[in-house]
Amino acid sequence: MAQQELIPHLFRLEYRKIVSVLCRRFGFEQIEIAEDIASDTFATAAQTWGLNGAPANPAAWLYAVAKNKAKNHLQRNTVFETKVAPEVKHKTTELHKYEIDLSPQNITDSQLQMMFAICHPSIPPEAQIGLSLRILCGFGIDEIADAFLTNKETINKRLFRAKEKLREEHVKIEYPTPAEIDRRLENVLTTIYLLFNEGYYSVHKNEVLRKDLCFEAIRLGEMLIGNKTTDKPQVNALLSLMYFQASRFDARISKNGEIVLYDDQDTRLWNYDMITKGGYFLHRSATGGSLSKYHLEASIAYWSTRKEDTTEKWENILQLYNRYLQLEYSPIAALNRTYALAKARGRQEAIIEAEKLKLENNQFYFALLGELYTGIDTSRAKQHFKKAFSLAKTQADKQVLQNKMDML
């Protein structure tokens, strides 16, 4: 790997590990210091490697430098003696006081515990994603601002407030108790899925960034599965869901950046390796007695990886949406259910059900009605597509609707 790619690559991979370990050691009180030390370490790397070339084991080099910087900080800083030392859980001998544990086990534990801390219920979801991107995914502030389509100041403020909140609430970097884990995990999974959707559905032009968001979400999911306490059925289900969805990443956007609808996708562009992984984790998720919404969504996503338009497929999707909606309502799930109904039982039945939904401000509602009336009542179809067009927010959506109207 070339020098100019190596450091950003390592930053993405190693920054979070260093921050997590240091922050767990120092506590949230000093998260900024942990972040500074980690950033400093990369600055040192950029200077030194620029002159002498990269070392044979860059990660180990980074750990060693981070460790030294942290030790220096601890030794210099009297705060350690008065504030941190009493907090440090493992009271150790004088000699070990300044040791920083960068063993693989501690790195893994620190990152997972950091994930739980960041996804603490006291912090708003947007800030959770922001902090996750910064601390767990090693994104730069401008990249986060880009992902949220906002500016750096907004993101800086948002992250600052979130960190303040973590301190105020005395959130500890530790595993939740077994009794608490499912509830806390729910928040973690929500954040991971939001992160994924940010990449998958965002209108962002930068495809590399969007893919990165998806893959980071998948990586966080895999991290949870790599750990015994968090390797739960619902985590496997979410991971399965993300793999199934991501398998269509290349097929759903055309070369010109237009959205390619499912029916028009070139299945040769589907990633079958990811579909296989989705299947693997779906299989692994099928244990235990509780059925999460991720189980249902993953099962729906599984059926979507089968292109053939069979009644069996749509009947299954319909039944899955029937159950999903009982767990959690969302307009998009209601619309998808109605689409599945049309495919499984015919449009007449679906039109009756669709008109009961009354989602008057939803462009997709009118797009669905337009779709259902296509070939049955052209003037109504057109009327609905027009209404959808007037509600559409992005150019890509408008284009899709225009094509539909042109084909009537």
Binding site: Q319, N322, L325, A333, A334, R337, K356
Partner: protein, 116 residues
């Protein structure tokens, strides 16, 4: 918005359905509930099994909810509705009504501070 219980009443709970018939009913019931849930009007659902059902009366425990009266309750769902008329419309879609003599009962759920 009020909450209503839609109660499924079977005329004869002792009739045994074939597994195939059960599957069809199950699917129809799920479609019915799914349609209500798609309108964001579904609150909760409780199926009541006939197996091992008991009736306690005058200190006597008997098998089955039936005894002399054959009519029994198969389950209930709770929905949100603007009016009892809307709740009745939901109830009309329940597949239980396809069975001979079966009926649906619609009852508004009392709020915490309401007497009933």
């Amino acid at each position: 918005m009020e909450e209503y219980a839609l109660i499924m009443r079977h005329e004869d709970g002792t009739r045994i359905a074939s597994p195939e018939q059960m599957e069809i009913w199950m699917k129809m019931t799920m479609d019915w509930i799914g349609g209500i849930a798609a309108q964001n009007k579904f609150v909760s659902g409780t199926g009541l099994l006939f197996d091992d059902a008991k009736v306690i009366r005058h200190g006597m425990v008997t098998n089955g909810p039936f005894g002399e009266i054959k009519e029994t309750i198969g389950g209930l769902i709770v929905v949100k509705a603007e009016s009892v008329e809307e709740a009745v419309e939901f109830a009309k879609g329940c597949p239980v009504l396809g069975g001979d003599g079966n009926s649906m009962e619609v009852r508004r759920i009392a709020k915490r501070d309401e007497t009933h």
